[in-house]
Amino acid sequence: MLVPRKKLEIFVEAHAVSPVEGMLAQAGFKGWSVLAGAEGAGAHGAWRHTGVDERGLYLVVAIGSDEASEAALAWLSDYFKSYPGIVAVSDVAVMRAERF
């Protein structure tokens, strides 16, 4: 009933959400979900979703095949050369293999 897949958790700035979604579709992901972050910190300093000066980071969660995951990682590794953010890959199990 359960099949193994890769889960990407991608933290990126607001302006990158839409390009990342486009990229995911092209990489072969059939779905993804985006959640808004509240605050955080990293190599580029600390941020907070205040509504005034900062627009905060978003968490894009995408579950898909190994190939899709690799294609996305290649794109992201390039992207992160210029822009803040991180990606973490992990193993998950899902139902309905044809959906992922």
Binding site: E13, H15, S18, P19, H44, G45, H49, T50, G51, V52, D53, E54, R55, G56, Y79, S82, Y83, P84
Partner: protein, 329 residues
Amino acid sequence: MTEILASAGAAAMANLLAPAVLFFGLGAFAGWAKSDLNIPDQVAKTLALYLMLCIGFKGGVEARASGLSAELISAGGLGLALSFLAPFAAYAALRALSKLDRLTAAATAAHYGSVSVVTFAAGSEYLRSMGVEFGGYMAAVLAMMETPAILAALIIAGARAREAGTRFKPELFREVMLNGAAVVLIGSFVIGVITGERGMARLDVFVGPLFQGALCLFLLDMGLVASRRLAEASRLSAGLVGFAMGWPLLSGIVALLGASALGLSEGDATLMAVLAASASYIAAPAAMRVALPKADAGVYLSLALGITFPFNLLIGIPIYHALARVLVG
């Protein structure tokens, strides 16, 4: 002259005691004292859009009433020129005064060429409280001055920009020209021009008495944000801090001289100085995050929000007005 100085001093004092400024102080205190006070982000964002809507709409209605006159063209031309040229001067000053890298200096210069809507709002309220008139078209000038500085900064950053952002070019253009705040500001101005007094009759409470209160609430939040930024500003060099307070003064004076040469009224000249002196904290940071991601956002936000914004709000505005009375009035 002494008379003017005395009355300027009194006006500066009165400005510090205006409710909106006091709410800014309250927010700054809460931020400094590490209170858990915060205006939720969705509400703060809506307040910002609402302020844009009011400023644009009221400006549009007034501009229609007084006709889109020659003054708009001269003030607009001056604004465009100031906004486009300022980053070059600001960049040179920043490089001379500090050890900022090229990209961070360019991004910071973009902020100082562009404008702050809340500073404009505070300036307008100040003039209103002093009984000084100004043209509704100044809202349009405000809108015009948002973008050119960003383009100038990209030119300054030059080759570097290319390297970073090729993939994101179209987003960048959208980000700059069509950022939500700008669309609401310009759109509301146009709606104000179209509907005129008829529209104002329906929205007067919404854009009038309510605006004053919303400005207080928003400045409370700005106080929180600014004091957090100021806390981070400790790592800024004396040169940068000097820039953040000296630039608005210089830039305001240049704007006043230009306004005086063009024969703008006392109120319009003051607002022109306020615009020139103010530093963007919405449009410019958003654009710089996309276009110059290697620039240090901690630097430009700390300067613009932590130092220049309070400086203008607390003492800059009355100074620009006092100078305008001398130079223009």
